[in-house]
């Protein structure tokens, strides 16, 4: 009904705006399409498409151990940083919501900094700090660096949710005999769960495709997949990289789609609660 009314209002324009829109989309998606096509290309010199093949994918799954090691590192890294960021972010959100403490406002504002500062600055700063303390780069430092940029996103996702809570819900739990810890465990955190899932997906995707910060924070044994690919394409691009990219892309799209589904279900739910 509403959509129909809107469609009725839309005019067909003759000024080529539609052409501009198509061009923009072409710029965005053509390269991705090319990657997909080349990943099935018979020819190793990728200028023209000589025929369809799955060889590159076979090769990916058979011999290139390095690439698989990098993928494993990336997945592990993303999992660790996601879990740690969500735990820290959740408790930080609850603390910032519930308690007043000196410097709270400053801490809240500082949260924006990791988001707005260029990643290269964070990467270099991290490297400088670590070498100042004489810490060698390892999986641990890599995880720490990723947690640093994921936590603010977790907090920003959870904060609107928690501030929409009715304070008397937690009071009701205590009224019914739950102490502070039980209230947290049985009421506060379960009510945050949809938000936590959404922020976990977000952290995971942020972590798995990060190049810049990982580049500074990774040790020699901890090459992540994006860094590995980056290294590989500096010379000649081997078609199996295309295959790898396609797989990463599909994985990421699936994750983001899941995150968006959860977020929109959440938004609908909140709206319904508010309209009641």
């Amino acid at each position: 009904m509403k959509a129909a009314a809107k469609a009725g209002k839309e005019k067909k324009n003759g000024y080529g705006y539609d052409l501009i829109a198509y061009t923009v989309y072409a710029f965005l998606y053509l390269p991705i399409l090319i990657v997909i096509i080349y990943s099935f290309n018979k020819s190793e010199i990728n200028v023209n498409f000589t025929g369809f093949t799955l060889d590159w994918y076979k090769e990916l799954f058979s011999k290139d151990r390095d690439l698989w090691q990098a993928l494993k590192t990336s997945l592990l890294l993303a999992s660790y940083s996601t879990i740690i960021s969500c735990v820290i972010g959740t408790f930080a959100t609850i603390a910032m919501h519930r308690y007043r403490f000196p410097g709270k406002q400053i801490i809240e504002n500082l949260l924006y900094i990791p988001i707005v500062i260029p990643e290269i600055v964070i990467g270099i700063a991290f490297l400088a700090t670590m070498s100042m303390f004489g810490i060698n780069m390892s999986m641990t430092t890599l995880v720490i660096s990723h947690v640093t940029f994921c936590v603010p996103f977790v907090i920003f996702t959870l904060r609107p949710r928690i501030s929409g809570f009715d304070a008397s819900i937690e009071e009701a739990a205590m009224d019914l005999g739950a102490n502070q810890w039980h209230t947290l465990k049985r009421v506060t955190i379960p009510m945050l769960v949809p938000g936590i899932i959404a922020s976990a997906l977000m952290s995971f995707t942020l972590s798995i495709d990060d190049v810049t910060i990982s580049f500074f924070a990774a040790g020699p044994e901890n090459t992540t997949l994006p860094i590995k690919i980056y290294g590989m394409v500096r010379g000649k691009i081997s078609p199996d990289v295309y295959g790898q990219c396609v797989i990463i892309m599909l994985g990421t799209i699936a994750l983001v789609a899941a995150a968006m589904l959860i977020l929109s279900a959440n938004a609908r739910r909140t709206k319904r609660i508010q309209s009641n």
Binding site: S168, E171, A173
Partner: protein, 378 residues
């Protein structure tokens, strides 16, 4: 009331003071609440009702004074160690749990056995007529149903006292009336002490054994609905509960239990005690007790002119303008005493139908606010 007086109080508030910073919200209140009693805290918005309730529940610290629950001082006890339960105005159901889990929450905290929990939840849901709703989530229920879940969730724990903060405030009038009766019956059936907060005087009158009228952080009067209506102790109470005609008077003479009063509107003699000559006092007469006569009545010298008669269903509301412009409200049944508008009449009332109240005012003849909050034209 009297049979309750010799029982021990279940809750005692002793000189309780609550301040938020400099803001004095509850000012040295004392209150005893007895086992099985339905006590209502009634007062206008912001008078401190919720704060009082929250101090009993343990959600707010007490600035000064003490609260006893069954002779045990509650100082420093967190809410989860008090054997009282609260029904919140916003229901405060756990949104991520279904009805069964909501109701079972307190029992799970008590580590009760699963089978017993199931049995108790079933019983209490039957009591509030929600059998079959176990698997529903709170956002799939109407306001009235959520309210009943909130009540079930509290009473399933068998608390010594149930605290209810305007539990029916969000319901429509018809449902509210029904729930008032349901709640009252539930309270009698379970014999749990209820401390009930409302700003709706009709609701308070319908449900309560005793009402504590609160104003500006103090109790103006505590008593049964009848006591409060028939014998208001302060002008605030007379104004707040029902409609009143309030006259400012000065005691002219005291003679053998009779007081002769002078007021702007005329003189009256009433049967009262405990007042001194020249004291300023308020005289309160309910509209249904005002009578009119064509001729002066002994003991009364109150002349006025009928301004209008309005029929409201079974009653006639009459307004009588006194010589100083004060408008007296009178209600009567159609077969009662009635005179057409414009008639000169003399007001009187039966012995004992007026209440004389002390006042702290030292100045007489300032404008008296009527019960609706309007002031008298000069």
């Amino acid at each position: 009331m009297t049979e309750k007086m010799d029982k021990k109080p279940i809750i005692s508030l002793r000189n309780v003071i609550k301040k938020y910073g400099e803001n004095l919200v509850v000012n040295k209140i004392n209150l005893d609440i007895y086992q099985g009693e339905f006590l209502t805290l009634l007062g206008a918005s912001g008078c401190g009702k919720t704060t009082t309730l929250r101090m009993i529940a343990g959600f707010e610290d007490i600035t000064e004074g003490e609260i006893f629950l069954e002779d045990e001082n509650m100082a420093g006890k967190p809410p989860y160690h008090r054997n009282v339960n609260t029904v919140f105005q916003s229901y405060a159901l756990f949104p991520h749990m279904n009805v069964f889990d909501n109701v079972a929450f307190g029992l799970v905290e008590k580590k009760m056995k699963k089978a017993e929990i199931r049995k108790k939840v079933r019983e209490v849901l039957e009591l509030v007529q929600l059998t079959g709703f176990e698997r529903r989530k709170p956002d799939q229920m109407s306001g009235g149903q959520k309210q009943r879940v909130a009540i079930a969730r509290a009473i399933v724990n068998n608390p010594r006292v149930l605290l209810l903060d305007e539990p029916l405030g969000a319901l429509d009038l018809k449902l509210r009336r029904q729930m008032q009766l349901d709640l009252k019956h539930l309270q009698q059936q379970l014999n749990i002490t209820f401390v009930y907060v409302t700003h709706d005087q009709e609701e308070a009158m319908t449900m309560s054994d005793r009402i504590a009228i609160m104003n500006g952080g103090v109790f103006e009067q505590i008593g049964t609905a009848e006591e409060i209506y028939e014998h208001p102790k302060t002008k605030f109470v007379a104004d707040f509960i029902g409609e009143s005609n309030i006259f400012e008077t000065s005691i002219h003479a005291v003679e053998e239990k009779m007081l002769k009063l002078i007021m702007e509107q005329g003189d009256v003699t009433v049967r009262e005690q405990g007042f001194e000559v020249n004291e300023i006092a308020y005289l309160c007469v309910r509209p249904e007790n005002i009578k009119i006569s064509e001729f002066p009545v002994e003991g009364f010298n109150l002349k006025g002119i009928i301004k209008e008669n309005i029929y409201v269903g079974s009653q006639i509301k009459t307004t009588i303008e006194m010589i100083n412009g004060y408008l007296v409200k009178k209600t009567a049944f159609p077969d009662g005493d009635m005179k057409p508008a414009g008639s000169i009449v003399y007001l009187y009332w039966d012995d004992g139908k007026s209440v004389l109240m002390h006042t702290k005012e030292d100045k007489i003849y300032n404008y008296i606010e009527s019960a609706e909050g309007g002031s008298i034209p000069s």
